[in-house]
């Protein structure tokens, strides 16, 4: 049984049909990526899984239970965390407080233990723990957003455009961390515009085009697929 199973998902923004019958699956332990151009419906799909948007039709099953209609604030206790597009860290709160918020549904002891682990994965966050989130650099903010999502000990972590606006060297660092988190046992669903990076670390990939899945398969194969190369990898 798949960990996450999306079947024939349809999502609208008012009268705009943003996601048109998308189906995909994520197995436990995998890194799955959704790639595609701007406006293909990648973020919409993630936000719908996270409960921020409601689908018009289709099913979302996580560990065999339906997620449709579950409010966003109940998702973390189900084991799903979303690291949202644009990071959306709490700018006026300190790094430490941001992390504490990530463990909102957890006990004080669990929060403390997770904070230690996040500081181990992101030593830079430990150095800056008393600084306001808004004063961090873009890369550090991305690390904070990821650390914050990790605080809830998610089984499935969804990442929306983690490389957005970062220098290439930082992009590499962020993707190394994602691989590392996966190796430690977190299943990853990754949405990216940086297709070559995403495909290089993912097990499987789905290509979204104007709201539909146009291609899917092994990430490595897609990385070398002629059509994918032309459309998304600049060559």
């Amino acid at each position: 049984m798949s960990m996450l199973k999306i079947t024939d998902l349809n999502v609208y923004y008012g009268s705009i049909h943003a996601v048109k019958g998308v189906s995909f699956e994520v197995e436990e332990g995998e890194i799955v990526t959704l790639i595609g151009a701007n406006g293909a419906g990648k973020s919409t799909t993630l936000n719908t899984v996270a409960g921020l948007l409601r689908p018009r039709s289709g099913s979302i099953e996580f560990e065999g239970k339906s997620l449709v209609g579950v409010p966003a604030h109940k998702m973390v206790s189900r084991g799903i965390a979303l690291c949202p597009e644009g990071r959306r860290i709490f700018q006026d709160m300190t790094v430490r407080e941001n992390l504490e918020m990530g463990a909102f549904t957890r006990t004080e002891e669990e929060s403390l233990e997770m904070r230690k682990r996040v500081y181990e994965s992101f030593p830079r966050l430990k150095e800056r723990r008393t600084q306001a989130g808004g004063t961090l650099s873009g890369g550090e903010q991305q690390m904070l957003a990821m650390g914050r999502a990790l605080m809830s000990k998610p089984k499935l972590m969804m990442l929306d455009e983690p490389s957005m606006g970062l220098a290439p060297i930082l992009v590499q660092e962020i993707f190394d961390i994602i691989k590392e988190l996966n190796a430690q046992g977190t299943t990853i669903l990754l949405v990216e515009q940086n297709a070559s990076m995403a495909l290089s670390i993912a097990n499987r990939a789905y290509v979204l085009e104007t709201g539909r899945v146009s291609m899917s398969g092994d990430a490595n194969e897609l990385l070398h697929d002629e059509r994918v190369r032309k459309a998304y990898l600049g060559g």
């Binding site: 921020l52 998702m75 006026d92 909102f104």
Partner: protein, 293 residues
């Protein structure tokens, strides 16, 4: 001595404004709405306390407690019934609804308690303090009011900076969507902030009526608007800002009454708001919002 007496009265009145403004600013900070009915909750708090003391003959402490509990519930019910259905509506719709709730509360009070002013007996029954051979007289209610204001401000600051729920409120005030992703129930949080704000309004009502003992259905509306002014002057959304703005406004009002003229006092108070908005739109302690590029 006249100067000192005015200053003490100003701080005392300002402390009442500050307590009301703290409620305004908390609700604005988290729910991002101006609850214009906030002032009328003060009046309801005053009436509950009055009925408990005069009609039911309950002890002062119990009357105050019931007043706080009553207003807390009222605040939560109003939020649930009037504002929650409008969560996704444009802010103008919410603002108009708040004005509607304000009139609803005033007219309900008019129906229940009538239009004739009630004489409120001060909840602090202690002798006045005399200094400088009786030249300076300080009413005990003034001291209690100022101390209560300081206590509330410190408690709120500690609450929002130290407790999990308080931090969750700050998270909601910054980004409700991200707060939801953390597992924070935004609706519960907003309901909670209305409960706190309305409880504070009850305390403000009791203190206000103890200082100025005339209680009418419209008692809360002008102090409510002045407290809103105070919150804006201090920087809306900021807890120390609301307290500072409230105390400043109280002092300005009493001094204007004493040295310029009673009729002009309110005009001067609101004049300060206009000048303030021209010079420092974000308020004294408010955060300037920079456009993101």
């Amino acid at each position: 001595m006249g100067f000192l007496t005015n200053l003490i009265n100003g701080v005392s009145l300002g402390s009442v404004y500050a307590i009301i403004a703290l409620g305004y600013t908390m609700v604005y900070g988290i729910a991002k709405m101006l609850n214009f009915a906030h002032g009328d909750v003060i009046m309801v708090g005053g009436y509950i306390c009055f009925v408990c003391m005069n009609n039911l003959g309950l002890p002062v402490a119990v009357a105050i407690l019931l007043s706080i509990v009553g207003c807390t519930c009222l605040g939560m019910v109003v939020e649930r019934a009037a504002y929650k259905p409008l969560r996704e509506a444009p802010s103008l719709a919410v603002l108009i609804t708040a004005i509607g709730v304000s009139y609803f509360l005033q007219n309900s009070a008019l129906l229940i308690w009538g239009a004739d002013p009630k004489v409120f007996k001060s909840v602090v029954d202690l002798p006045s303090l005399k200094f400088f051979e009786g030249q300076l007289v300080v009413g005990p209610i003034n001291i209690v009011t100022a101390l209560t204001c300081v206590l509330i401000m410190v408690s709120l600051t500690l609450f929002t900076s130290r407790t999990k729920m308080g931090k969750a409120m700050r998270a909601c005030s910054e980004d409700k969507g991200a707060a939801q992703l953390m597992g924070i129930n935004v609706n519960t949080t907003i309901s909670m902030v209305f409960a706190i704000g309305s409880g504070l309004a009850a305390i403000a009502g009791v203190l206000l009526c103890s200082t100025y003992p005339t209680l009418m259905p419209t008692t809360g509306s002008l102090p409510g608007i002045k407290a809103f002014t105070a919150a804006v002057i201090g920087g809306i959304g900021s807890i120390p800002g609301a307290a500072l703005g409230g105390v400043l406004l109280g002092i300005i009002e009493i001094f204007a009454k004493a040295y310029i003229g009673t009729q002009l006092a309110d005009a001067i108070v609101f004049g300060v708001l206009i000048v303030m908005l021209l010079i420092r739109p974000a308020g004294l302690l408010g955060k300037e919002i920079h456009e993101k590029v």
